[in-house]
Subunit: 135 residues, 2 copies
Protein backbone atom coordinates (compact mmCIF):
# COMPACT_ATOMS: atom_id res chain seq x y z
CA UNK A 1 0.00 0.00 0.00
CA UNK A 2 2.80 2.38 -0.86
CA UNK A 3 5.41 3.79 1.46
CA UNK A 4 4.27 3.80 5.03
CA UNK A 5 2.85 7.09 6.26
CA UNK A 6 1.95 7.49 9.85
CA UNK A 7 -1.18 9.52 9.50
CA UNK A 8 -1.65 9.69 13.23
CA UNK A 9 1.53 11.72 13.27
CA UNK A 10 -0.08 14.11 10.80
CA UNK A 11 -3.16 14.44 12.92
CA UNK A 12 -1.18 14.87 16.07
CA UNK A 13 0.21 18.16 14.82
CA UNK A 14 -3.36 19.34 14.34
CA UNK A 15 -4.74 17.95 17.56
CA UNK A 16 -2.59 20.46 19.38
CA UNK A 17 -4.58 23.25 17.77
CA UNK A 18 -7.61 24.89 19.28
CA UNK A 19 -10.82 24.84 17.31
CA UNK A 20 -10.23 28.40 16.14
CA UNK A 21 -6.73 27.56 15.06
CA UNK A 22 -7.89 24.49 13.21
CA UNK A 23 -10.53 26.52 11.41
CA UNK A 24 -7.92 29.05 10.37
CA UNK A 25 -5.53 26.33 9.25
CA UNK A 26 -8.25 24.83 7.11
CA UNK A 27 -9.09 28.23 5.71
CA UNK A 28 -5.51 28.87 4.66
CA UNK A 29 -5.12 25.44 3.08
CA UNK A 30 -8.39 25.99 1.27
CA UNK A 31 -6.91 29.03 -0.44
CA UNK A 32 -4.46 26.74 -2.15
CA UNK A 33 -7.27 25.34 -4.21
CA UNK A 34 -8.89 28.65 -4.91
CA UNK A 35 -9.08 29.36 -8.60
CA UNK A 36 -7.07 32.58 -8.48
CA UNK A 37 -5.13 32.77 -5.22
CA UNK A 38 -2.05 30.75 -6.12
CA UNK A 39 -1.90 32.19 -9.59
CA UNK A 40 -2.00 35.71 -8.21
CA UNK A 41 0.66 34.92 -5.64
CA UNK A 42 2.92 33.36 -8.23
CA UNK A 43 2.65 36.42 -10.48
CA UNK A 44 3.72 38.62 -7.59
CA UNK A 45 6.46 36.15 -6.71
CA UNK A 46 8.04 36.14 -10.13
CA UNK A 47 7.82 39.91 -10.50
CA UNK A 48 11.01 41.81 -9.89
CA UNK A 49 9.27 44.40 -7.74
CA UNK A 50 5.82 45.55 -6.65
CA UNK A 51 2.98 45.35 -9.14
CA UNK A 52 0.08 47.70 -9.67
CA UNK A 53 -3.47 46.42 -9.64
CA UNK A 54 -3.84 46.68 -13.40
CA UNK A 55 -0.62 44.80 -14.07
CA UNK A 56 -1.67 41.92 -11.84
CA UNK A 57 -4.95 41.88 -13.70
CA UNK A 58 -3.11 41.56 -17.02
CA UNK A 59 -0.92 38.77 -15.76
CA UNK A 60 -3.69 36.72 -14.18
CA UNK A 61 -5.56 36.18 -17.41
CA UNK A 62 -9.29 35.81 -17.19
CA UNK A 63 -9.77 37.15 -13.69
CA UNK A 64 -12.49 39.74 -13.16
CA UNK A 65 -11.91 42.96 -11.29
CA UNK A 66 -14.18 41.80 -8.54
CA UNK A 67 -12.40 38.50 -8.04
CA UNK A 68 -8.97 40.08 -8.15
CA UNK A 69 -9.95 42.62 -5.52
CA UNK A 70 -11.32 39.90 -3.31
CA UNK A 71 -8.29 37.68 -3.81
CA UNK A 72 -5.83 40.47 -3.04
CA UNK A 73 -7.76 41.58 0.05
CA UNK A 74 -7.74 38.06 1.45
CA UNK A 75 -4.04 37.71 0.77
CA UNK A 76 -3.37 41.05 2.40
CA UNK A 77 -5.43 40.17 5.44
CA UNK A 78 -3.48 36.97 5.93
CA UNK A 79 -0.15 38.74 5.54
CA UNK A 80 0.69 36.96 2.30
CA UNK A 81 0.89 40.14 0.24
CA UNK A 82 1.29 43.81 1.07
CA UNK A 83 -0.82 46.61 -0.34
CA UNK A 84 0.51 50.15 -0.51
CA UNK A 85 -1.71 53.03 -1.56
CA UNK A 86 -0.12 56.20 -2.96
CA UNK A 87 -2.03 59.42 -2.52
CA UNK A 88 -1.87 60.43 -6.16
CA UNK A 89 -4.26 61.24 -8.96
CA UNK A 90 -4.85 58.91 -10.67
CA UNK A 91 -4.50 56.50 -7.75
CA UNK A 92 -1.66 54.03 -7.60
CA UNK A 93 -1.72 50.88 -5.52
CA UNK A 94 1.20 48.50 -5.37
CA UNK A 95 1.15 44.87 -4.35
CA UNK A 96 4.08 42.71 -3.30
CA UNK A 97 4.43 39.21 -1.99
CA UNK A 98 5.70 38.87 1.58
CA UNK A 99 8.24 36.53 3.09
CA UNK A 100 5.53 34.33 4.50
CA UNK A 101 3.82 34.36 1.11
CA UNK A 102 6.98 33.03 -0.48
CA UNK A 103 7.25 30.42 2.24
CA UNK A 104 3.75 29.27 1.49
CA UNK A 105 4.47 28.98 -2.22
CA UNK A 106 7.42 26.80 -1.36
CA UNK A 107 5.15 24.47 0.58
CA UNK A 108 2.65 24.23 -2.21
CA UNK A 109 5.18 23.68 -4.93
CA UNK A 110 5.87 19.96 -4.22
CA UNK A 111 2.17 19.16 -4.26
CA UNK A 112 1.68 20.76 -7.64
CA UNK A 113 4.81 19.14 -8.96
CA UNK A 114 3.73 15.71 -7.81
CA UNK A 115 0.20 16.17 -9.14
CA UNK A 116 1.41 17.39 -12.52
CA UNK A 117 3.82 14.47 -12.74
CA UNK A 118 1.05 12.06 -11.77
CA UNK A 119 -1.53 13.39 -14.18
CA UNK A 120 -1.06 10.43 -16.52
CA UNK A 121 -1.94 8.01 -13.77
CA UNK A 122 -5.07 9.98 -12.96
CA UNK A 123 -6.13 10.02 -16.58
CA UNK A 124 -5.61 6.27 -16.70
CA UNK A 125 -7.63 5.76 -13.53
CA UNK A 126 -10.52 7.78 -14.90
CA UNK A 127 -10.43 5.97 -18.21
CA UNK A 128 -10.64 2.63 -16.41
CA UNK A 129 -13.43 3.85 -14.19
CA UNK A 130 -15.47 5.26 -17.04
CA UNK A 131 -14.99 2.13 -19.14
CA UNK A 132 -16.15 -0.07 -16.26
CA UNK A 133 -19.23 2.12 -15.93
CA UNK A 134 -20.34 0.73 -19.31
CA UNK A 135 -20.97 -2.69 -17.79
Amino acid sequence: MGKALNWREVNSCCDALSEDEETLTREIVTRVADKWTLWTMSMLAESEGPMRFSRVMEKVEGISQKSLTKTLRQLERDGLVTRVVFAEVPPRVEYSITAIGMEMLEQVYPLWQWTANSVGRFQQARANYDRRALD
Copy 2:
Protein backbone atom coordinates in the same frame (compact mmCIF):
# COMPACT_ATOMS: atom_id res chain seq x y z
CA MET B 1 11.52 38.53 0.62
CA GLY B 2 12.24 35.15 2.17
CA LYS B 3 14.24 32.33 0.70
CA ALA B 4 14.53 32.55 -3.03
CA LEU B 5 12.08 30.45 -4.94
CA ASN B 6 12.27 30.26 -8.65
CA TRP B 7 8.61 30.28 -9.46
CA ARG B 8 9.29 30.07 -13.17
CA GLU B 9 10.62 26.64 -12.43
CA VAL B 10 7.31 25.78 -10.82
CA ASN B 11 5.41 27.02 -13.80
CA SER B 12 7.68 25.24 -16.21
CA CYS B 13 6.53 21.89 -14.89
CA CYS B 14 2.97 22.93 -15.71
CA ASP B 15 3.73 24.53 -19.05
CA ALA B 16 4.61 21.09 -20.33
CA LEU B 17 1.03 19.99 -19.72
CA SER B 18 -1.75 20.13 -22.27
CA GLU B 19 -4.81 22.12 -21.39
CA ASP B 20 -6.68 18.94 -20.47
CA GLU B 21 -3.84 17.83 -18.25
CA GLU B 22 -3.66 21.19 -16.58
CA THR B 23 -7.38 21.11 -15.90
CA LEU B 24 -7.08 17.67 -14.37
CA THR B 25 -4.09 18.72 -12.28
CA ARG B 26 -6.03 21.68 -10.96
CA GLU B 27 -9.00 19.44 -10.26
CA ILE B 28 -6.92 17.06 -8.18
CA VAL B 29 -5.23 19.84 -6.24
CA THR B 30 -8.63 21.37 -5.62
CA ARG B 31 -9.68 18.20 -3.84
CA VAL B 32 -7.08 18.92 -1.22
CA ALA B 33 -9.15 21.85 -0.07
CA ASP B 34 -12.44 20.02 -0.22
CA LYS B 35 -14.15 19.92 3.13
CA TRP B 36 -14.29 16.13 3.35
CA THR B 37 -11.86 14.59 0.88
CA LEU B 38 -8.65 14.68 2.90
CA TRP B 39 -10.41 13.72 6.09
CA THR B 40 -11.98 10.73 4.40
CA MET B 41 -8.68 9.67 2.89
CA SER B 42 -6.89 9.97 6.19
CA MET B 43 -9.49 7.81 7.94
CA LEU B 44 -8.95 5.11 5.33
CA ALA B 45 -5.20 5.58 5.60
CA GLU B 46 -5.04 5.06 9.32
CA SER B 47 -7.41 2.10 9.24
CA GLU B 48 -5.78 -1.30 9.48
CA GLY B 49 -7.87 -2.72 6.67
CA PRO B 50 -10.82 -1.90 4.43
CA MET B 51 -13.72 0.07 5.91
CA ARG B 52 -17.41 -0.23 5.28
CA PHE B 53 -19.45 2.78 4.26
CA SER B 54 -21.08 3.11 7.65
CA ARG B 55 -17.76 3.00 9.50
CA VAL B 56 -16.31 5.73 7.34
CA MET B 57 -19.41 7.75 8.05
CA GLU B 58 -18.86 7.33 11.79
CA LYS B 59 -15.22 8.33 11.58
CA VAL B 60 -15.76 11.39 9.42
CA GLU B 61 -17.94 13.17 11.92
CA GLY B 62 -20.56 15.50 10.56
CA ILE B 63 -20.54 14.31 6.96
CA SER B 64 -23.90 13.60 5.33
CA GLN B 65 -24.63 10.42 3.44
CA LYS B 66 -24.85 12.35 0.24
CA SER B 67 -21.53 14.08 0.68
CA LEU B 68 -19.77 10.90 1.72
CA THR B 69 -21.08 9.07 -1.33
CA LYS B 70 -19.95 11.86 -3.59
CA THR B 71 -16.55 12.11 -1.93
CA LEU B 72 -15.92 8.38 -2.15
CA ARG B 73 -17.05 8.20 -5.77
CA GLN B 74 -14.68 10.97 -6.76
CA LEU B 75 -11.84 9.32 -4.92
CA GLU B 76 -12.63 6.01 -6.57
CA ARG B 77 -12.79 7.56 -10.01
CA ASP B 78 -9.36 9.09 -9.54
CA GLY B 79 -7.87 5.84 -8.30
CA LEU B 80 -7.26 7.18 -4.80
CA VAL B 81 -9.51 4.64 -3.09
CA THR B 82 -10.94 1.29 -4.12
CA ARG B 83 -14.56 0.27 -3.72
CA VAL B 84 -15.52 -3.41 -3.47
CA VAL B 85 -19.14 -4.48 -3.48
CA PHE B 86 -20.09 -7.84 -1.94
CA ALA B 87 -23.20 -9.53 -3.29
CA GLU B 88 -24.78 -10.09 0.10
CA VAL B 89 -27.95 -9.21 1.92
CA PRO B 90 -27.69 -6.79 3.54
CA PRO B 91 -25.17 -5.28 1.15
CA ARG B 92 -21.56 -4.77 2.17
CA VAL B 93 -19.23 -2.29 0.47
CA GLU B 94 -15.63 -1.94 1.48
CA TYR B 95 -13.35 1.01 0.85
CA SER B 96 -9.56 1.09 0.98
CA ILE B 97 -6.96 3.69 0.21
CA THR B 98 -4.68 2.92 -2.73
CA ALA B 99 -0.95 3.31 -3.13
CA ILE B 100 -1.40 6.51 -5.10
CA GLY B 101 -3.80 7.74 -2.45
CA MET B 102 -1.13 7.26 0.19
CA GLU B 103 1.36 9.02 -2.06
CA MET B 104 -0.94 11.98 -2.33
CA LEU B 105 -1.38 12.19 1.43
CA GLU B 106 2.38 12.28 1.76
CA GLN B 107 2.49 15.28 -0.57
CA VAL B 108 -0.18 17.11 1.34
CA TYR B 109 1.25 16.43 4.74
CA PRO B 110 4.04 19.08 4.65
CA LEU B 111 1.61 21.77 3.60
CA TRP B 112 -0.72 21.04 6.51
CA GLN B 113 2.19 20.79 8.87
CA TRP B 114 3.58 24.13 7.77
CA THR B 115 0.19 25.81 7.88
CA ALA B 116 -0.61 24.47 11.34
CA ASN B 117 2.79 25.59 12.58
CA SER B 118 2.27 29.03 11.02
CA VAL B 119 -1.20 29.56 12.37
CA GLY B 120 0.05 31.97 15.00
CA ARG B 121 1.56 34.22 12.36
CA PHE B 122 -1.70 34.21 10.43
CA GLN B 123 -3.69 35.12 13.52
CA GLN B 124 -1.27 37.96 14.14
CA ALA B 125 -1.56 39.18 10.56
CA ARG B 126 -5.33 39.22 10.76
CA ALA B 127 -5.30 41.00 14.10
CA ASN B 128 -3.05 43.71 12.64
CA TYR B 129 -5.20 44.02 9.55
CA ASP B 130 -8.45 44.26 11.46
CA ARG B 131 -7.01 46.78 13.89
CA ARG B 132 -5.77 48.96 11.03
CA ALA B 133 -9.24 48.83 9.54
CA LEU B 134 -10.43 50.90 12.51
CA ASP B 135 -8.54 53.95 11.24
